[in-house]
Homo-oligomer: 229 residues x 2
DNA sequence: TAGTGGTCTAGACCACTGA
DNA sequence: CAGTGGTCTAGACCACTAC
């Protein structure tokens, strides 16, 4: 069998996990490793490059490759569409439009979306249910200048997230997570008490430098976002 | 100039962002793109593979490469050491050990760390301050069987996270984020009121399949975890 | 079963940077 | 300035899978 980059990567990972290579330790260079494993340098390069991408090792020209002092530095979270998130849990998904208005952009939002005073925005409030129980409260603002036909779109049966995803080609985004205390409106919709701690994700999306939408997703009480790394 | 994989990647990204390639659309195969860009197939392959890693496109043998319907599906969060997190904000960092006990593992924790009944664990409670204000409350359990000398370690001046990172070679971990209501102890330490919503990260770490530590990091009121993608 | 991506190779040149 | 990683190439074979 030929030696694959996965073989090399797994072996290097094993050496790090087993303590043969200590944090801060210097790994052999690519040429030496290629010889040791009996493969091409490009194979070793790909293995080590992926370890560097994952934050396990640190590479510098001339200085070589070292095991990172703080080995694990990042985690990836999938940001699923809520319908898929609920379906993946084996629950029934239901969607409801709570409110839809076109209004002049509020002051607090104007800076966030880079809009001019008095410009109109579309404001949507939606609920997502899992097995009939409240799952997520969606509070969304959309810039109709960027999104063609959004004013005429019918969100009574399909959520705006899925609609936007199909309509817009590609975006940059900023997302932040926090804990908030439920106000009466949130409490009513999510079936908890005012003051309860709720998990919230807030995301702003841009298309070619222009703000498209700001959305606040507030989850039912007790929600956890989990990942492994 | 020779065409680099970054050139190819940037051009493909631009075509997707500008709407030339629509969600669900099929990209040309690697051979055709290599010809179009005047480079080797391996160059195109690397560009498209990275786009796939980032969740922009989806690749399948025989079926080709398509723009993802939901273009962005994951976000990466850096998981900094709290001292670096605070220093990065330009604030002064201060650490304090609140409590340290060696005790038999509580029932609720036994399953989480795969321990036998009656086994001893080290329980640490620490506070991290930014510019003298409470920043993070750390509640940590450590399995002393896996971590040599942890019982004798002095955590009065250095936090257990930094100690562990320097001591252990590498680990797997599971992390989850949630919102919790402050109990009186948390409220006292974090300078808020009981019942306030607080952001919490909970992480379990394994070394070669054995549980090392479970830590709950509860942040001061109003904390946000943010990332761009 | 044919088309597409997945990967390895051997060699080459280049860019950065630490000693 | 010499050592290390970064990348490209041209060709090859293979693995998967949609048709």
């Amino acid at each position: 069998m030929t030696v694959t980059f996965k073989d090399v990567k797994a072996d290097l990972l094993d050496q790090i996990a087993s303590g043969v290579m200590r944090p801060g330790g210097l790994l052999p260079n690519e040429i030496d490793l290629a010889e040791r494993y009996g493969c091409a340098r490009a194979t070793v390069n790909r293995a080590m490059r992926e370890l560097a991408d994952e934050g396990i090792v640190e590479r510098k020209r001339k200085a070589g490759t070292r095991v990172r002092m703080a080995p694990i530095r990042q985690a990836r979270f999938s940001i699923p569409i809520v319908r898929e998130e609920i379906a993946a849990q084996g629950a029934d998904y239901r969607y409801a439009l709570v409110d839809r208005t076109v209004q002049a952009v509020p002051d607090w939002l104007r800076g966030r979306l880079d809009l001019n005073p008095g410009q109109d925005v579309l404001h949507l409030v939606c609920m997502h249910y899992a097995d009939g129980m409240p799952y997520q409260y969606e509070d969304r603002w959309i810039n109709p200048e960027i999104v063609p036909h959004v004013i005429e779109a019918d969100f009574s049966t399909t959520g705006p997230n899925e609609w936007l995803v199909a309509e817009l080609p590609f975006s940059n985004a900023e997302i932040s997570f926090s804990a908030v205390e439920a106000d009466q409106d949130l409490a009513d919709h999510l079936g908890c008490s005012a003051g309860n701690a709720l998990f919230r994700a807030e995301r702003t999306t841009w298309l070619q430098g222009k703000a498209v939408t700001l959305v606040r997703l507030t989850y039912r009480r007790g929600h956890r976002m989990t990942t492994q790394y």
